[in-house]
């Protein structure tokens, strides 16, 4: 790429990033200062296109995050204190974090596996494109289901007087007499499946479509059975994408709030619900900023999950090119 070459016109799929800074300096002898300035200008011009998005991220993602992080270490008068973080990592709030993480892990792994099976069935089903289109559209709708309406439809289905509960009772098995209740952690997991499975289907489909039939044919030509193919080819290729998607589901479950709140009315101490109660002003005087410390805790958990997610995606991208 010469210094005057228009790197931006390269094909989107090119492996080298367009306009790599300094890539032309060694090839063409010339005054390096001018070249750097040219590159800098070109880089700036190119960056203009993402300024609106950058502003959006700065105002709606970074600013709240910084405000939460600062507020977590301030008392009501604005002085530095560690008592908020101390309160947020002890007692009921620590229990809330554990409950949130437990709920999120269960409602990420379980829908992850079920969603993968469903997505595979959709990809390979004979119905062809029509079925795929219907399934993707439906998954898009169900993945955005949430909040009070979702809680309501499950109360109507497996609530104490719900439709399925009544069916089971008429068959001689009342789930509510056998320790089951919708308003528990298990109930919340069942409800979360309703939007987590479609989300998994949506995010794992591209990875499944990236599994080329040629790989399977090659494996079969070498005498592999179905299990061998999945053990040595399909599984390893799919694993980073799968784990990445599960981490995405983890984040989604961790921050889901309205459904659990409507369903359990706060009987399960989830961090998101605890933050919600701070937001509603149900707070002991002097502890107003503990909510921000809880928020900071959520940020830290999500940040760790996202770091792992990015690492996984980097490995997965190698195969999906």
């Amino acid at each position: 790429m010469g210094p005057s070459g228009e790197g931006a016109s390269r094909a989107p799929g090119s492996l080298a990033g367009p306009g790599v800074p300094g890539s032309g300096a060694g090839a063409a002898p010339g005054p390096p200062a001018r070249l750097t300035a040219t590159h800098l200008l070109r880089g700036l011009r190119r960056a203009l296109g993402v300024i609106p998005f950058g502003l959006y991220v700065a105002f709606f993602l970074l600013a709240p995050m910084v405000a939460v992080a600062i507020g977590a270490f301030q008392d009501n008068n604005g002085n530095f204190t560690r008592s908020n973080v101390h309160a947020a990592t002890h007692g009921i709030y620590l229990h809330g974090f554990w409950q949130s993480i437990l709920l999120s892990v269960i409602s990420a792994v379980l829908p992850g596996i079920l969603g993968l099976i469903l997505a595979y069935a959709i990809v390979r089903a004979e119905g062809g494109n029509l079925l795929r289109q219907i399934a993707i559209t439906a998954a898009g709708v169900f993945a955005n289901f949430g909040g009070v309406p979702l809680a309501f439809i499950f109360i109507a289905t497996i609530g104490s007087s719900g439709l399925v509960s009544q069916w089971l009772t008429s068959l001689g098995f009342d789930p509510y007499n056998h320790g089951f209740t919708l308003y528990s952690l298990l109930g919340v997991v069942i409800v979360y499946l309703y939007f987590q499975i479609p989300l998994m289907v949506l995010v794992i489909l591209p990875a499944l479509e990236g599994l080329r039939p040629a790989w399977r044919e090659a494996a079969e030509n070498l005498g592999a059975r179905s299990w061998d193919y999945w053990r040595y080819v399909g599984g390893p290729v799919l694993l980073p994408s799968f784990l990445g998607c599960v981490l995405l589901l983890f984040g989604s479950a961790l921050s889901a709030y309205a459904t659990a709140e409507a369903l359990t009315n706060g009987t399960i101490p989830l961090t998101a619900i605890q933050i919600g109660s701070f937001l509603n002003g149900n707070v002991i005087a002097g502890q107003e900023n503990t909510g921000k410390a809880l928020g900071l805790g959520m940020v830290v958990i999500i940040a760790v999950a996202m770091l792992v997610y990015v690492a996984m995606q980097r490995r997965a991208a190698k195969w999906l090119r």
Binding site: F53, V57, L61, F142, E209, A258
Partner: protein
């Protein structure tokens, strides 16, 4: 995220064992799809039965329904327009010119699931609380008592719960 290669779905099925395997796999796939369809559609049907078809007629005449619906639709439309106006050009631009930022964009997409909590918590500070109360005041929650889960007058003055 679109896959670059479209798989050729047809596998040449020679006679004998492979055809049986293929048929078994087909049954398995359709079983999965049907079970999933039941799981997703049954609750909707149960909710429809629970609420009663007649409720749809009377809900329109409920006081406050029209304004709530209009507000919801307005918020949804504004949200959608802002999202499309912001994200469509940016995504196309990043895809064509700034390949290096694609991963960052995908990362920010993932963050969407966790961002509401932070913003909520931010709004939690005392100076923001009064305004957020006022904001919630204009979104009246319909009559549904959550502690006892029955369609009666709310036990606490409720509000639209943010998702």
């Amino acid at each position: 995220m679109a896959s670059l290669t479209r798989a050729a779905p047809e596998e040449i099925a020679p006679p004998g064992r492979q055809r049986t395997v293929f048929r078994g796999a087909t049954i398995w796939r359709w079983t999965v799809i049907i079970v999933a369809a039941v799981y997703f559609l049954l609750p909707l049907w149960a909710a429809l039965r629970f609420a009663g078809i007649s409720a749809f007629g009377s809900v329109i005449s409920e006081p406050g329904f029209t304004s709530s619906l209009a507000l919801s639709v307005r918020l949804a439309v504004i949200n959608t327009l802002i999202t499309i106006a912001l994200m469509l050009p940016t995504t196309v631009y990043v895809h064509l010119r700034l390949q290096k930022l694609r991963r960052l964009m995908e990362g920010s997409r993932s963050c969407r699931s966790s961002s509401p909590r932070w913003c909520l918590s931010w709004a939690c500070s005392p100076s923001h609380r009064a305004s957020s109360r006022a904001r919630r005041g204009c979104l009246r929650w319909p009559t549904w008592c959550w502690p006892c889960r029955s369609p009666t007058a709310p036990s606490t003055p409720g509000c639209a719960r943010p998702t």
